[in-house]
Symmetry: C2
Subunit: 214 residues, 2 copies
Amino acid sequence: MNIAVLGTGIVGQTVGKKLVALGHAVSMGSRDAAHPNAVAWVAAAGSGARYGTFANAARFGEIIFNCTAGVASLDALASAGEANLAEKVLVDVSNPLAFEKGKAPRVIVEAESVGERIQRALPRTRVVKALNTMNCNVMVDPARVASGEHDLLLAGDDASAKRAVEALLGTFGWHRFIDLGGIAAARAMEAYVELWIRLRLTLETSDFQIAVVR
Amino acid sequence: MNIAVLGTGIVGQTVGKKLVALGHAVSMGSRDAAHPNAVAWVAAAGSGARYGTFANAARFGEIIFNCTAGVASLDALASAGEANLAEKVLVDVSNPLAFEKGKAPRVIVEAESVGERIQRALPRTRVVKALNTMNCNVMVDPARVASGEHDLLLAGDDASAKRAVEALLGTFGWHRFIDLGGIAAARAMEAYVELWIRLRLTLETSDFQIAVVR
C-alpha cells in the first residue's frame, strides 16, 4: 500500500520504518519539502521510503498516519489539504501535550479532543484514533511488552475504517482490540495519556501497556 | 479503628459497609445531621455503623474516606472542618464529573485535580488519592474482577500515609499497588476515569479493571 506518515519526530520515524519493513511505500510529510529528519529517515529506511511536504505525502497515501504533535496537528492537516485527505482513513496517533521546564509533560484535556477536532475539520476523512496510548516502540512491536497480553484501544465514527486499521495493525502483531465507539471517545484516549506519563515516571521504562481485565 | 466515610451515595455506602464488616466503627457524614441515605445505611450495616454531619464524622474518624462527588468535595471538607481532619489520613475516592442529559458523564480535567486541591486546602491532612479509578463494588472486592490480576493506583505526598492505606486496603483483598508518587499524580488518576467511563459503555459491565503489563 501507499501510506503517508505526517510528522518527522520519533513516532513518525518508528511507524514509518515499520511500514517500510512490511513492504509498503511510505511518504513522510513535513512542513518543509526536505526536513532534515525526513531526509535522514529515508536514507535509513530503505527503498520504499520517500519524503515531501504534508500535501505531497497526503496526496500519495491511501492511508494516513498523523504523527505530528497534537498541538500542531490541525495546522499540519490544513497544510496537507482537505482534498488530499478526503475519503481516506486517517490514523490519529497524536497527543496534545504541554511542556514546562523541569516538570513532567501534561496532557491538555479540553471539552473536545484533538481527534474530534480533526474529524470536525475534515468531515470527508475517516478518522480513527489509535496508538496514541503507548510508546512508539510498543506501537510497532506489541510483543516488546513481554510479560502478558494487552489491549489496543481505538475509536472513530466509521466502522469500516476501524476494521481496516485493525487489519493493518494486525500485521504489526496486534490481536487484542477494544473499539471504544465513535470519535468522541478520543477524549478518553488522550486523557489516559496523563496516566501513561505518570506510569512512565514510576516504572522507569516505556515498555509497558495496559490490559483491561474483566 | 474509628473510620469516617464522607458522602451518602453508593460509593460511601459500599465502602462503609465493607469497613463495618471488617469490624471497624464507621461514621457516615453528610451535609445533614440525619440524611435519609445515612439513616437507612446505618439500619442495614449493623452495630458498628453511625451517622452525623460531615464535622461529626470527621471528628470521629482516625482515617477519613472522601466519597463525596468531586465537584462538591472541597465544600464538604470545609464543612467537616480543618481541625477535625488535621494529621489524619484522608483517602480521596472522588471524581470531578460533569453530567449532561443524554450523554455519558465527563471528567473535568483542569490544571489542578481535586486531589491536589484538597491537599492544598488541608495542608495538615495527609491526602492519599486511591480507589477512584474503579467501580465501588471492585474497590471493596478486587476478586470480583475474576479473570486476572490487576493494579490499585495511589498517589500522595506522605509516604507513611500511603503505606497505611495499602495496609487497610490489603484487608479488602488488594495486593498489587502502584504508587504513582506525590499528590500531583492525582490529575492522572482522575483523567483516567474518562477512559473508565468509555470502557464501561463498551464492556457493558462495571466489573473490570486495568492491569499494567511490562
